[in-house]
């Protein structure tokens, strides 16, 4: 199939950018979206032009590197799918596709479709850990974790940190990302000890990094390639209230 692409091109941070039009010819329906872009880039290189710069790594849907807003939806709108796992069979011959970077104040554009997501790392550094003694190897199952709690924590831990929640949020908020880590650790005995200081430190870091506030649009959950549920934001809100009395 043949497609018309409108891709955001920006030579560097703080440079003016604009959408440029490209033709993607003879696209196979079995290709992934990134493979389609690879072929467009090969043509651009042959023509002596700058290829489209985009983030990618594992191409298996688990690393959280790919980050493109396709036709107005982060990762392209197929449920629980990252861009690298989005296949061209979801498009039709003759389609026009708009490809843009994540857009939020906290995600400055580095080049073309690549944004600087270190704001998410700052949130993680502020409290996304548990403090423990190092030394000899601890006995397995020395601390018992009920199955329901383990499952709940694993659901929250599914977050791959891609930032689609921020890109989708009308407020540019990273509350879903932050809440996934707060809820995961607060649900486990190892994380409970620092739960109160964690929720405060992580939400403060979120604010300082320039992310907005959550106003419960739930756009984040709909765009999340891992289906992280907004129930974790409710959990974060509960953890925050508990911290007020400590």
């Amino acid at each position: 199939m043949n497609l018309t692409l409108h891709v955001w091109r920006q030579s560097g941070p703080n440079q003016p950018g604009k959408l440029e039009q490209y033709d993607a010819k003879n696209v196979s329906p079995d290709q992934s979206f990134l493979e389609m872009l690879d072929e467009v880039n090969e043509e651009l290189i042959k023509e002596g032009k700058d290829p489209i710069v985009f983030d990618h790594d594992c191409r298996e849907g688990i690393c959280g590197m790919c980050s493109q807003v396709i036709n107005g939806v982060p990762h392209g709108g197929q449920e629980r799918t990252t861009v690298c796992q989005l296949h061209m069979r979801n498009f039709n011959d003759g389609d026009t596709i708009y490809i843009e970077p994540w857009r939020a104040l906290a995600f400055p554009i580095v080049k073309d479709l690549i944004v600087d997501r270190s704001g998410l790392e700052k949130i993680m550094q502020a409290g996304g850990y548990t403090s423990c003694h190092t030394g000899g190897v601890a006995d397995g199952n020395a601390i018992l974790v009920p199955k329901v709690d383990a499952d709940y924590a694993m659901d929250a831990a599914e977050c791959i940190g891609c930032g689609a929640c921020v890109a989708a949020c009308p407020n540019g908020s990273a509350m879903l990302y932050t809440s996934a880590k707060v809820a995961q650790l607060a649900a486990l005995p190892q994380g409970k000890a620092e739960a109160a200081q964690r929720v405060c430190a992580m939400t403060d870091a979120m604010q300082e990094a320039g992310f907005g506030n959550c106003s419960n649009h739930y756009e984040c959950q709909a765009a999340c390639p891992k289906g992280i549920n907004v129930k974790f934001i409710a959990r974060l809100n509960r953890e925050y209230q508990k911290s007020l009395f400590k």
């Binding site: 857009r103 407020n171 959550c214």
Partner: protein
Amino acid sequence: MRILTSSVGRKILMSITGQLLILFILIHLIGNSTIFFGPNGINAYAEHLHSLPPLVWAFRLFMGAAIAVHICYGVMLTLENKAANPGAYAVKKNLKASFASENMIWTGLLVLAFIVYHLLQFTVHGTPDVVVGLDSANRPDVFRMVVTSFGNGLIALAYVFAMIMLFLHLSHGIPSFLQTMGWNNEKTIPAFGTGGKVISAVLMLAYISIPAVILAGLLKL
């Protein structure tokens, strides 16, 4: 006081003040519905309500403070959120966000404008349509005042419009306050979403019924 400055803390304050305002909306509706019992209903209710001025003023100040906190943080959070999202997408498709959730600030400010008008009209008696007088039992004739004002189609229409704004505001506000308080889980999230819309619609229709019944000529002087 970190609750006054933090992202989640300010939302909790908005949620609590919002809950107080919803409670007021409920009580006010029950009080207003005494109009369906005729002059003896609403005039007796109004006289009873104002028989203890210190209590009336304490209540007014409390509600005024709740509204002030709700609006101040609402405006502050909206401005911060607008700044955090440059909104520069050439194409943006919403998957879940609704007209109501995206326009909370505007529906909220329109409801505020309505409250100012409503107080100016029926509390301060400062609008030209208001008829002030006493009934046969020497009580302030609230029934005559309301029925005369709502007999004007434009005034009734303004009230209907304000109640639609209130519906939009509450249809997102009710599920939102539950989420912000953390009283939510995977099962309750969709239920509260639907429940919020239903309760908001019932409140809107109940409030609209008063000008509608008067305009239809079913409640007469």
